[in-house]
């Protein structure tokens, strides 16, 4: 038999000669190091290093072009008595809380609607994601134009339905501006919630719904006792992601109001930009940005703990 002869004739222990690099990369630890090197360099250079630099900046009095020297926590104590900063903090929390709740509620509603069978479902789902994928700045301009007090199509529509009698200055009125900005944020975020939650809904075995229906549960009870608990892990992760994004939002406000009128829509990020880039007060700007950090850290820790807990189960 040809094969067995071939085996017999061959010299044994004929491990081919391998280069040192090849053998080194056969060791898991060295291979891992090599594979992670580009990532670690890039993230180190443009995340870790800027973070350290940001901390250093925030405890100095640097300006654009002027290195500055150490001033301790002076920038942060100054912020505490800065009335605009306090308004920005308040706005950011209101903005994040209201927008997140609305996005979750509307997103879940839309996900439940899309989870039914109807003609053109794939098509609808594809179109509904548009607000999320189109560059935010560009679509926000469309909203800014729709909010324009003189030429507003929204005002015209409301007027035609007899809901208003005068003109509404959506972005110019300090009481309305934050609401308007929230509307746009919700508009942009709902598709993300809806599609993510829809994916979560689709992993729930329909037999559970049928079993609950046979057990006599009404639609609302079926949702509350079967769907919602099973959807909770996805919901939590989506919400935490969204909270971080909303909390640190910049572009919407920058385009719509620039933080105005009278700082009514000023957020952490827009204020940091105004101070750090607009006026060139690097250290104060860095301090305002970094003031976000504790809140973000809490959310990230919650998220990590939650993911770990879900993974354990």
């Amino acid at each position: 038999m040809a094969i067995s002869e071939a085996v017999n004739q061959r010299a044994f222990a004929r491990a081919p000669r391998r280069g040192a690099a090849t053998l080194l990369l056969e060791d898991e630890r060295w291979l891992a190091a090599a594979l992670l090197l580009p990532t670690v360099i890039l993230l180190g250079l443009f995340i870790a290093y800027p973070f350290v630099e940001g901390v250093l900046l925030s405890v100095s009095n640097a300006r654009v072009g002027i290195p500055g020297h150490f001033v301790g926590l002076a920038n942060f104590t100054a912020l505490l008595s800065d009335s605009i900063f306090r308004v920005a903090v308040w706005n950011t929390f209101v903005y994040t809380a209201v927008a997140t709740v609305l996005k979750l509620a509307l997103g879940l509603w839309l996900a439940l609607l899309l989870n039914r069978h109807f003609r053109g479902k794939a098509f609808t789902r594809a179109f509904i994601l548009l607000p999320f994928i189109i560059p935010t700045v560009l679509s926000t301009f469309a909203w800014k134009w729709m909010f324009d007090p003189t030429f507003s199509v929204i005002n015209w529509t409301l007027f035609q339905f007899g809901l208003i009698h005068g003109r509404i200055n959506w972005l110019g009125n300090p009481d309305l501006a934050l609401i308007s900005v929230i509307i746009v944020n919700v508009w942009r975020g709902v598709p993300f919630f809806a599609i993510s939650l829809l994916a979560g809904l689709q992993t729930i075995n329909p037999e559970l719904q049928e079993a609950a229906a046979i057990d006599g549960a009404k639609p609302w009870q079926r949702f509350w006792h079967v769907t919602w608990p099973l959807l909770l892990p996805v919901t939590m992760v989506v919400m935490l992601f969204s909270i971080i994004q909303t909390f640190a939002d910049f572009q919407l406000v920058y385009v719509l109001t620039g933080g105005g009128p009278a700082n009514a829509t000023q957020l952490f990020a827009t204020y940091a930009y105004q101070v750090g880039v607009g006026t060139g007060l690097l250290s104060e700007g860095a301090a305002i940005s970094l003031a976000m950090f504790p809140f973000l850290l809490i959310i990230v820790v919650v998220q990590l703990l939650y993911i770990r807990r879900v993974e354990v189960h």
Partner: protein, 283 residues
């Protein structure tokens, strides 16, 4: 589905869904109508009796022509395209290697490194843009595309890594073990066996990364200053608004044209995009 009376279907399904669709898509329709509307119709107050919001009697391409001839819009498109493609390639390269290492290899501090990358995934750009601008200046990268090509991967790599890790974990270990017994080095087993199988994941990650970099705003706003270096998002924002004057026709034409590349790619790869989106929150 549990069927009910016809009116119930309307009240609980068609009307809400229709309202959602109108609300979510109307701004795009508005962009389109505005960009083909002549100025004399455009600047007609909504109180005016002849205000006709939803259509235009005299469609015109004058805004589009102006945008392409009088502004650097075409240049911004090319800039954005270049930056998005190069940063996507860099991020995919790094994300593939790092994702494989984290998903498959055992090494000291592997877990904490994975957590570290996940945390950078959550770092918003607005946290670091001021010190980063300083660093970009020190590296002599200010006002060049490289400022963005090198910084966009900071949020793209963690995303790609995280997404691809999920794909790699779903590939049976035996495949690469078999390849290694068949005579492949670990490196070749990864290259010839694992990566080809993960192609759907690579596509998802790539498309997602491309749209993310196309849409990025604050880094581009802060790191670029001269008009001919700008990206679409920044160019439209800063160059089409002069002082207090908004050139709405051009703005909307720019918004529309600037959205086309992402919308185009998206339309071809909806499923991959959705897979990327849902994969990114699954963790």
């Amino acid at each position: 589905m549990i069927e009910g009376a016809k009116w119930r279907r309307w009240v609980y399904f068609y009307i809400p869904l229709g309202a959602f669709i109108v609300w979510l898509l109307f701004p795009f329709y508005w962009m389109l109508v505005t960009s083909v509307r002549p100025d004399r119709e455009l600047y007609r107050p909504w109180m005016a009796p002849n205000y006709a919001p939803f259509w235009t009697a005299h469609p015109t391409l004058v805004h589009v022509v102006d945008l392409l001839t009088e502004t650097l819009f075409a240049r911004w498109m090319l800039n954005t395209l270049f930056i998005a493609i190069v940063s996507t390639i860099i991020s995919l390269f790094c994300g593939l290697l790092a994702g494989y290492a984290l998903a498959r290899l055992k090494f000291p501090f592997g877990g904490s490194l994975g957590t570290g990358i996940f945390i950078t995934y959550l770092v918003p750009q607005t946290l670091l843009f001021i010190p980063l601008a300083d660093i970009i200046r020190n590296f002599q990268l200010g006002d060049t595309p490289w400022a963005l090509v090198l910084t966009y991967p900071t949020f793209l790599i963690p995303f790609c890594t995280w997404l691809l890790m999920g794909y790699f974990k779903a590939i049976p270990r035996e495949l690469e073990e078999c390849a290694r017994i068949d005579g492949a080095t670990r490196w070749k087993a990864m290259l010839y066996i694992i990566f080809p199988i993960a192609v759907p994941g690579i596509l998802s990650a790539g498309i997602f990364a491309f749209t993310l970099s196309w849409n990025e705003f604050i880094y581009a706003l802060v790191f670029l200053s001269s008009a001919e270096q700008k990206t679409v998002a920044v160019g439209v924002t800063s160059e089409l608004v002069r002082g207090d004057v908004f050139y709405w026709g051009q703005l909307m034409a720019g918004a529309l044209l600037g959205s086309i590349p992402v919308a185009f790619i998206y339309s071809f790869f909806v499923e991959y995009y959705v897979a990327g989106l849902t994969g990114s929150v699954k963790g």
